[in-house]
């Protein structure tokens, strides 16, 4: 998706592909340095999804080996952005997780507690 510039850092990449639904693929290790660029990407993607009246977006974490608390907070912030929208404009986040990466199971379960109506987990 040309409207959302990818992140291609050594050790961490994030890229949006597809349109309906859009798919955000995160790979590698999202450490504290990833936070700023990931926040910018999420802000841009959110604006784009609202503009396109998207109903769902896939967040693919299957190759995301690690995400620290700072970067994970970006996902919580994303949920807050969606919750601020009028109900008819809200879209769902479907997380594709990897059961072989231990941190994902608990962290995503916790994330679901923030908005059970907006978060769905596949795999894991």
């Amino acid at each position: 998706m040309a409207a959302v510039p990818p992140i291609r850092d050594p050790g961490f990449t994030a890229e949006v592909t597809g349109e309906a639904p859009a798919r955000l693929v995160l790979r590698g290790n999202a450490d504290i340095q990833a936070r700023t660029s990931l926040t910018a990407l999420v802000d841009t993607l959110h604006a784009h999804l609202v503009e396109r009246a998207a109903r769902v977006v896939i967040v693919d974490l299957a190759a995301l080996e690690f995400m620290n608390a700072s970067s994970f907070n970006v996902l919580v912030g994303w949920l807050a952005l969606i919750q601020e929208l009028p109900p008819e404009q809200r879209y769902r986040l479907v997380f594709r997780s990897n059961a072989r990466i231990p941190w994902q199971t608990r962290s995503l379960r916790t994330l679901t507690c923030f908005a059970i109506d907006l978060v769905e987990i596949e795999g894991g």
């Binding site: 850092d9 050594p10 050790g11 590698g28 290790n29 450490d31 504290i32 340095q33 080996e65 690690f66 620290n68 608390a69 700072s70 994970f72 907070n73 919580v76 807050a80 919750q83 990466i101 231990p102 941190w103 608990r106 962290s107 379960r109 916790t110 994330l111 679901t112 507690c113 923030f114 908005a115 059970i116 109506d117 907006l118």
Partner: protein, 486 residues
């Protein structure tokens, strides 16, 4: 009763401010031991808990209770917790931020509060100090305080260099090979990595109880005073300090402090005083235990030395330092009959052995009739590293350069290092040139992003001749590069 809207809004504002302060204090205690930040953290949570209850924000209040439990467990573990725990604390703060914004008594709308509390309970159950450690460390290590096998110091240097190589290989590998190498790296790291512990008054309170119990037994009265600065040290150092302070305190009560009647006759308070003070200064942990008792009875030490077979002439020639040295020899005691308390001659010997094994020293001074003072000094490795973190093309991990290297802007360097190539990765040589200088030596490194200041935790300490070592940078393992070695 409905509270005025103004008051409720004021709580919302204040709660957000408190949550921001709690988050900052949590980040601070996670990066280094900081008494002030720890006190602030506990105070702010406690206050927020009270305020939320008073203002009817029962959801905030219940999460605040759980957060207090989490922070209490973290405190008991010297704030050495894993990334799951860190994330749970952060999520609890985000949860409260969200709950504080919603109207009092309104529906939770999509928020699964019971589910979230259950998650916290699970983390708490797994993280209690006495809980079995079912979880294995995944990508980053727990900061353990015990449990790993002891590796002799002479082997550690050699293994540390191999551990760093194994970290680099693991980071470069993929698939099953990566899993295998990760296991190797983590095994080595757990064997020889720095095991951290927190030294502080809380750990030494048992000395006070022990001292009082012993004094009661001997018909003496004492007071114990602590003037210790909290310090993060290695688990080995903490164990040595435990041994040293236990024996020295028992000796002070048994041999140093006089009976109340004797003290009164000498014009002293009937209650003897033992003071334990110290902290980390200039890469050494220095602990001083002093008492206001009778002082070391050097004439008795001399007499006992003669009884043990040293010639009277030789003993007479010994000065106080040499006599103290003699007191620390195995089997030496001024008591002729062993009691349950001391007099077996193993105390000072054990103290010295524990301290010397870590490259430390034990010294003493004494003033006749006024008391004695024992000083334990142990070198402690720097546990934290201030530096610059860089991202270099071709490297799958961040690089760290020690803060002793200063960044020069707009300068050139006669020597440019390509860390990726030097470490055996396909280097691209791309990126901006950053010039570092230390003691007149300039080295240029090409990196993708402007260096950022950082505080990392050392994981495995290597000898100065090694190319680098592994540090923990906000939950991510990074390679500290010794530019002087390139």
């Amino acid at each position: 009763m409905k509270l005025p809207e103004e008051l409720v809004n004021q709580f919302r504002t204040v709660a957000q401010e408190r949550l921001a302060r709690i988050e900052a204090a949590w980040a601070q205690v996670m990066s280094a031991v900081d008494d002030e930040a720890a006190a602030l953290l506990h105070r702010e949570i406690h206050t927020l808990k009270g305020e939320s209850q008073m203002l009817g924000f029962s959801d905030v209040n219940v999460v605040c209770h759980k957060l207090e439990d989490l922070v209490e467990v973290a405190r008991a573990r010297g704030y050495a917790v894993d990334e799951d725990f860190d994330l749970t604390v952060n999520m609890a703060l985000r949860f409260m931020t969200m709950l504080a914004r919603k109207k009092v008594g309104s529906q939770l709308g999509g928020i699964d509060l019971p589910g979230f509390l259950k998650q916290i309970d699970q983390v708490l159950a797994e993280s209690r100090p006495d809980a079995p450690r079912a979880r294995s460390s995944s990508l980053t290590p727990l900061n353990r305080t015990s449990g790993a096998p002891r590796v002799p110091a002479f082997l550690r240097d050699r293994l540390a260099t191999i551990a760093v190589d194994s970290f680099i290989e693991y980071a470069a590998a993929e698939g099953a090979r990566r899993n295998r190498l990760r296991f190797s790296w983590h095994t080595l790291r757990d064997m020889i990595g720095l095991q951290r512990a927190v030294l502080g008054p809380a750990q030494l309170v048992k000395l006070e109880q022990n001292g009082h119990a012993l004094a009661r037994e001997l018909g003496k009265e004492i007071e114990v005073k602590f003037e210790l600065s909290s310090a993060e040290v290695t688990a080995e150092v903490l164990a040595a300090i435990d041994v040293a302070t236990l024996h020295l305190a028992r000796n002070a009560v048994d041999h140093g402090i006089e009976a109340p009647a004797v003290r009164r006759a000498a014009g002293k308070s009937p209650r003897g005083r033992i003071t334990l003070r110290g902290g980390v200064r200039d890469d050494r942990l220095v602990i001083v235990l002093e008492d206001d008792g009778a002082g070391i009875q050097f004439d008795r030490v001399r007499a006992r030395a003669v009884e043990l077979g040293i010639s009277a002439a030789a003993v007479e020639a010994l000065d106080h330092d040499r006599l103290i040295e003699l007191m620390c020899q195995p089997g030496f005691t001024t008591r002729t009959a062993a009691t349950d308390i001391s007099g077996r001659g193993v105390g000072l010997d054990a103290v010295r052995a524990a301290v010397v094994e870590l490259g430390g020293s034990l010294s003493a001074s004494s003033v006749d009739g006024a008391g004695s003072s024992w000083t334990v000094s142990i070198p402690v490795p720097r546990l934290g590293i201030h530096g610059h973190v860089l991202r270099v093309s071709g490297l799958p991990f961040p690089l760290v350069v020690d803060a002793a290297w200063q960044i020069l802007l707009g300068e050139t360097a006669e020597r440019v290092v390509d860390p990726a190539t030097a470490l055996g990765f396909p280097g691209t040589g791309s990126g901006d040139l950053v010039v570092f200088e230390r003691e007149g030596v300039r080295v240029g490194v090409r990196c993708d992003r402007a260096p950022m200041p950082m505080l990392g935790r050392r994981l495995v300490v290597t000898p100065a001749r090694a190319l680098g070592e592994v540090v923990l940078l906000d939950s991510v393992e990074a390679l500290l590069l010794r530019l002087e070695r390139f």
